[in-house]
């Protein structure tokens, strides 16, 4: 469950390799291999659709390539990566809303219909209900819930990713849990 916390030394080594022009390309390959699945699932839980997730994931690693040279080593590579990935996912959601001129609820309804589609999701009825309950949460609350409930990420790391205080994140998670409980206990 606590796979999301990598060894910091290893990340520092990767960043150092990346900053050396001779090993830059190989370092990127190693970073991708290390984080692709974790970041993919982080994005997928936000965007639901695989193709959208693929776009956001590619953009995330392209941005890593373009900006890692300026990366300040006082922060963690994986929180920086999650931060980029979260922003990319939210940008795609925003683009969807702008493109279709639909209010928030309609995009969520579109994502909810993908959970009903068995070609996208194969969970049980209660698992499906949980995913749909998550779509009813405000975006940031949903991201907080995912990072805590599924990835067991530390609040301190979540704070770095989302730029929100630990106290606010705990409150957000608390509200999310209560809302989901109510939704799951309803018909």
């Amino acid at each position: 469950m606590s796979e999301a916390q990598p060894q910091i030394n290893e990340d520092e080594q990767l960043v150092r390799q990346f900053k050396d022009e001779r090993t830059r390309s190989f370092a990127l390959h190693l970073i991708i291999k290390k984080y692709e699945k974790k970041v993919y699932w982080h994005i997928r839980k936000i965007l639901i659709d695989h193709d959208d997730t693929d776009d956001a994931l590619q953009n995330t690693f392209i941005k890593v390539w373009e900006n890692l040279l300026n990366f300040r080593e006082d922060s963690k590579l994986y929180t920086w990566l999650y931060r980029i990935a979260t922003n990319e996912a939210l940008a795609i959601l925003k683009k969807k809303r702008t493109r279709f001129f639909l209010p928030l609820v309609d995009v969520e309804a579109e994502l909810s219909s993908k959970i009903d589609d068995s070609s996208h999701y194969t969970g049980t009825e209660i698992e499906r209900k949980l995913q749909k309950a998550l779509l009813k949460l405000p975006e940031k609350q949903r991201i907080v819930f995912n990072m805590k409930y599924y990835d067991d990420m530390k609040y301190e790391d979540m704070s770095e990713v989302l730029g929100t205080s630990v106290g606010a994140l705990k409150a957000s998670y608390h509200h999310a849990v209560k809302k989901i409980e109510r939704f799951l206990e309803s018909d």
Binding site: L28, E36, R44, Y121, I126, Y155, H174
Partner: protein, 186 residues
């Protein structure tokens, strides 16, 4: 908004875990087979494509000043050449050209014969006698010639003759020849 400090008890999600069987959506969302095997190379290809300078459309070569200025000059000169040489000749130029051709073809004998027949109109010095010309213009028959000549704006002598006509004469003439004038204008 509710804020929880680090020392406060963390929100309890056990109830949800019990309800849902502690499932993970990663097991339930479908991912295309082999997606992660090729993902790294897909990203590298995209990065390489972005780092290469974008290939400009073919017409961009024609927009560079080193090429476009000489080409524009050639186009302008060519267009000017065609406009100048394909424009119709001024009115009467062809007539003058044919007349000059006819003049060249007239033999000296023909000219002498012509002069001999129309000697009455020629003075002793070989030029036109002014008195004869004025007489000719004054005759009724030559009024039409006066009008014709006048309408074409020929010599000053003829214009002076026309200027001697008063308004009544012109009006009378127009009334008499109204039908003809209309017919001609048609």
């Amino acid at each position: 908004m509710l804020y929880l400090s680090n020392t406060q008890m963390e929100p309890n999600d056990e109830h949800i875990r019990k309800l849902t069987g502690n499932s993970n959506p990663e097991e339930n969302y479908k991912v295309p087979q082999g997606y992660f095997d090729t993902f790294s190379s897909t990203v590298k290809e995209k990065i390489e494509a972005r780092s290469q300078p974008k290939k400009a459309p073919f017409y961009h070569a024609f927009l560079r000043p080193a090429f476009s200025i000489p080409v524009a000059a050639v186009i302008v000169i060519t267009a000017g050449y065609f406009v100048f040489f394909s424009s119709p000749a001024p009115e009467g130029a062809e007539l003058l050209a044919s007349e000059s051709q006819d003049t060249l073809e007239i033999s000296e004998e023909a000219i002498e014969e012509y002069l001999a027949n129309d000697i009455a109109l020629v003075g002793a010095d070989g030029g036109l006698d002014e008195d004869i010309l004025v007489y000719a213009l004054d005759t009724e028959e030559d009024k039409v010639s006066v009008e014709t000549l006048d309408s074409k704006g020929r010599s000053g002598v003829i214009k002076d003759s026309a200027a001697e006509l008063d308004a009544e004469d012109i009006e009378e003439y127009l009334l008499e020849h109204a039908d003809e004038t209309l017919f001609e204008n048609l």
